[in-house]
Amino acid sequence: MLTKRIIPCLDIKNGRTVKGVNFIDLRDAGDPVELAKQYAEIGADELVFLDIAATLENRGTTLDMVVRVAEQVNIPFTVGGGISSIEHVDALLKNGADKVSINSSAVKRPELVNELADKFGSQCVVVAIDAKQVDSSWKVHLAGGTIPTEIDLFEWAKEVEERGAGEILFTSMDHDGTKAGFANKALAKLSEELNIPIIASGGAGNVQHFIDTFKEGKADAALAASVFHFGEIPIPDLKKELKKQNIEVRI
């Protein structure tokens, strides 16, 4: 059976990890490559690198990091942040990234999803969607959740699937940082309405939250940052618990 995936997310700025990391003995906790290797060893299924300060000027630094990760890490990884052109995606994939994640650029120009899927294949196109519940509906937000739009989460997700996205990375801005659990109702609805994998993001605080997002939220993968980086939830322990709950994981 296809397993549920556990995905640590590393925030990157100028080729270095941003948030402090103290989960394990690392020579250099700011080095994304060191960290990525450790995560691969302890059983992470995939990694996401999010360039949180992406600019044209530091693109070379990020590409350099991507090539070093690809050299040393033997599990798949996705790169996101500030990606808006075919040329940029081409460079990332050629440097060894397995997938790219696009967000605001897809909202600004939805044809980008088609262009990337046609040129590189759906399997490497992840569309990240940040959304927040406004009244009773979920609205897409841009620029790290700071700019609201009138776009409905479910309609947008359906549209990008039709345009060729291979996967959706859905972050609930209402849950992100709260450590109170994932947005399982919205996740389950996405999973029912779409036929591509859904990654749950935002709200991981304890092991039960992961169990819930796989069972109730029907997520295909769960992404988290601080609970992994600070060793609050060791990935091997998490996977053992998930397995006990009859959730298929790779151990």
Partner: protein, 193 residues
């Protein structure tokens, strides 16, 4: 050992090159028939869409060369699918090395299959030291149907061939170069064939 990765414009050649370099081997990227023919081992990668990959192969004449190779050849992902008779992806004729066809997963499962799944009923030296039901990383929307060349099976809605072998030709639907330490073992086994 001379190890050549066929470079025809499709695929994550870098990841495969790095995977071999982690094993201590330098793999050469090439589309030069002489380089490919003189290699001890050949890797046929592929990521992307079948018909455009096939067009690129034809443009470089590699579609004629690959089936004639005598040394061990390993097709990975789309590379393996293109070595089959035919794929439903844009109704594309393959190289006809593996006597089977490639179909699209039904919509009863999420497509693409993306992530780690088990390989079982392993029968080839390619899997020496790999345990039954080991996890491998897969990303694909199309699958090869079983035939008597199946050397590994995987379930995803349907039970399909996740690896094939015909004489000196091997193919894996999964990505050994991205499948952690166990995937690396399979690459090492290929080098030792």
């Amino acid at each position: 050992m001379k190890l050549v990765i066929i470079d025809y414009g499709a695929g994550n050649t870098k990841s495969i090159q790095f995977a071999f370099s982690r094993l201590g081997y330098d793999a050469i990227l090439s589309n030069d028939p002489k380089e490919i023919e003189s290699a001890d081992k050949v890797i046929f990668p592929g990521v992307g869409e079948a018909s455009s990959a096939m067009t690129m192969l034809k443009e470089s004449g590699l579609d004629k060369l690959i089936p004639k190779l005598k040394q061990p050849v390993l097709g990975i992902c789309l590379g393996m699918q293109l070595m089959c008779l035919h794929t439903e992806e844009n109704n594309t004729e393959g190289l006809g090395i593996f006597q089977t066809n490639v179909k699209r997963f039904s919509n009863e499962v999420k497509v693409p299959q993306m992530g780690w799944n088990v390989i079982k009923d392993l029968k080839s030296d390619l899997f020496k030291g790999i345990k039954e039901r080991e996890y491998m990383y897969l990303v694909h929307s199309y699958y090869a149907e079983h035939c008597n060349e199946t050397i590994a099976k995987t379930d995803y809605g349907i039970n399909y061939a996740s690896a094939l072998q015909h004489g000196n030709f091997y193919g894996t639907q999964f990505h050994p170069e991205k499948s952690g330490n166990e995937g690396a073992k399979i690459l090492k086994n290929f080098l030792e064939l």
